[in-house]
């Protein structure tokens, strides 16, 4: 009969040959496939309105993380308070996956409009970072609704009153934040590499 060396060798060669047929690990771990994507893409729950975001900003909601996917210059010029800057071209950098794949804190992508935020949402969702949002309308909508809208009418309802209260406070917060000198803003730009710190091992 065959020796153990022969058996172990044969099995190892066979298995290592077979795993060549396996799909790339990086692509399949936790990722969504076509039916999965089609399902989540048609859900309306992926959007937050600017008023919802304004409320979260004003009440310092820690269950979301605003992610500005525009380029760094645009972010530096003006951004929503509390947002971090992960340009969409760099969104898959593994350094950021700690932010995007957080089971508790859900990212809210925004850009000037919907396009870039939508790109970030698509790419991240397909990667398996599910549960992220898009701020519908982006910064343009934010300006239109939160920054520049005024109440026009005879009597203000309680709901409207609450909305405008939040908008007013978000406005103040936003203006104060974006009026700070650039040197202070860059402090927020230095996003920490969240996951790298957790990786320990070897004999170090």
């Amino acid at each position: 009969m065959f020796s153990i060396r022969f058996q172990v060798s044969a099995i190892l060669v066979l298995l290592s040959g077979l795993i060549i047929l396996l799909p790339d690990a990086r692509q399949s771990s936790g990722e969504l496939n076509v039916p999965g994507m089609l399902e989540v893409m048609n859900e309306s729950g992926q959007f937050l309105t600017v008023d919802q975001v304004a409320r979260m900003v004003v009440y310092e909601d820690t269950s979301i993380l605003l992610v500005d996917v525009r380029d760094t210059e645009a972010y530096r010029a003006v951004h929503i308070p509390g947002a971090i800057n992960l340009p969409v071209s760099d969104i898959l950098n593994p350094d950021w996956s700690g932010y995007l794949d957080d089971p508790v804190v859900r990212p809210v992508f925004y850009s000037n409009g919907n396009t870039m935020a939508g790109e970030a949402w698509m790419i991240c969702t397909q990667k398996g970072y599910t549960g992220s949002y898009i701020m519908k309308g982006g910064m343009n909508e934010w300006y239109r609704e939160v920054m520049e809208s005024t109440f026009e009418g005879e009597r203000i309802t309680a709901a409207d009153n609450a909305t405008f209260e939040v908008r007013y406070r978000a406005r103040k917060f936003f203006n104060r934040m974006n009026s700070t000198p650039d040197s202070l803003k860059t402090a927020f730009l230095e996003v920490k590499r969240k996951k790298e710190d957790d990786l320990v091992g070897g004999c170090e």
Partner: protein, 178 residues
């Protein structure tokens, strides 16, 4: 006393090396799955030494960058993953020795050399090995084996360096072994 008692047990031969390799590979895979780390031994020795130095002289630890990083934020170096892993290794080795009847107090050496010579060489070997292991950020298990398992260049380079230099220097120490 224990050793003498167990001496009576029938000695079993070593496991076939390939099957032992499969077992070790599964343990390594288990370590990756459970904690995302590989295996490591020299690191555990280092943490023990750092703890001892810390217990003997607090000032020395505070004064040196190397030691103080292990005490940052009130950490205790003895409560390290690697330390507990080598504790487990002692237990695992003992169990294996017990079931195979290999528990004895003895100095294993070539009959051509004296006991002190063997012990001195073992001591020096230990000094060299752990020193080099710290330099390369891991020993045979921590850098070479675990590194190779995750296909890192560091793992393969360290492995080649260890065995390459071993073969190179083997000639000088041949009298001690054969």
């Amino acid at each position: 006393m224990i050793s003498i008692h167990l001496e009576i047990m029938r000695r079993k031969p070593y496991m076939n090396p390939y099957l032992a390799g499969v077992l070790l590979g599964l343990v390594l895979l288990g370590a990756m799955v459970i904690s995302g780390r590989g295996l490591g031994a020299s690191g555990g020795i280092k943490y023990c030494v750092v703890s001892i130095v810390g217990a003997v002289s607090q000032e020395h630890v505070a004064g040196a960058d190397y030691y103080s990083k292990y005490y940052q934020g009130g950490k205790k170096p003895i409560n390290n993953w690697l330390v507990f892993q080598i504790l487990g290794m002692v237990v695992g080795g003992f169990i294996s020795g017990a079931v195979s009847g290999r528990l004895t107090w003895k100095i294993e050496k070539s009959p051509k050399i004296s006991k002190p010579r063997r012990l001195i060489l073992a001591f020096l070997g230990g000094v060299f090995f752990v020193y080099g292991g710290q330099m390369a950020r891991g020993c045979t298990s921590g850098a070479a084996l675990s590194g190779m398992a995750v296909l890192t260049t560091a793992g393969f380079v360290t492995m080649i360096a260890i065995f390459g230099s071993g073969f190179l220097f083997a000639w000088f120490f041949r009298k001690n072994w054969i």
